[in-house]
């Protein structure tokens, strides 16, 4: 993954993850797997984990601990009303940015 992609993803990955769990609650590994399916093949598992820790600390998700066959219990993340608000704001911001950048793109080239 290029340096530019990494930099751009930094600002948007949180919104992407919120959007992914908005449809269906998931635990860390599932979230990484869903991202991989969508073509984000080089995002590190640990990066997603750190991000999940952050959105939990900010109170955007509810967490349920589910026992797993091996290893420690898995934390299943689901979007709560505060997370929903945050995601809505993310989409508004995204639309604004995407519109403006697209305009620069069509005008400038």
């Amino acid at each position: 993954m290029g340096k530019q992609m990494t930099e751009m993803l930094k600002g948007t990955l949180e919104g992407i993850v919120l959007a992914l769990i908005a449809g269906q609650p998931a635990y860390g590994y599932e979230i990484t797997a869903r991202l991989r399916e969508q073509g984000f093949t080089e995002i590190a598992e640990g990066t997603i984990y750190a991000l999940l820790v952050r959105i939990e600390q900010r109170g955007l998700v509810d967490v349920e601990k589910v026992p797993s066959e091996k290893g420690p219990p898995r934390k299943v993340y689901s979007l709560n009303p505060r997370g929903r608000e945050d995601l809505d704001e993310f989409w508004r911001t995204w639309s604004f940015l995407a519109d403006r950048i697209e305009e620069l793109h069509t005008k400038g080239n």
Partner: protein, 121 residues
């Protein structure tokens, strides 16, 4: 009473117990996971600047859980930390910023600029 008095000198005994448990969790990880987790442990202690014990213990718990889970899932170490381990460590550390000593300096800077610009608005 005696225990309390001792703890004011030695630090919380409960924190020490939790810290020892965390170290044991890292020791118990299989080979490569242990090496990687211990390397990250060193980095976050030396360069993290986290000085609050409760925040630090939370960070340790999260770090150990990540590696225990990854080992159980068979996630390769390279897929946990990605291409840039420092980048990963910094992303991870950002979650515990409220325990960092630098906060005092950030506050000092904010206050100083606030004072300097007080008559501007």
């Amino acid at each position: 009473m005696a225990a309390k008095w001792i703890e004011t000198i030695t630090g919380s005994l409960d924190d020490k117990k939790q810290y020892k448990q965390y170290k044991a969790r890292l020791e118990a990880l299989p080979g490569k996971y242990r090496t990687a987790a211990q390397a990250l442990d060193r980095y976050v202690i030396y360069s993290g600047g986290v000085v609050k014990a409760d925040v630090m213990l939370k960070m340790f718990d999260d770090l150990a859980t990540l590696f225990e889970q990854a080992a159980a899932d068979g996630t390769p170490v390279s897929a946990i930390v990605g291409d840039d381990p420092v980048e990963f460590a910094e992303t991870f550390l950002a979650n515990y910023a409220d325990g960092q000593w630098r906060n005092k300096e950030k506050q000092r800077l904010t206050d100083a600029i606030g004072e300097a610009t007080a008559d501007e608005n």
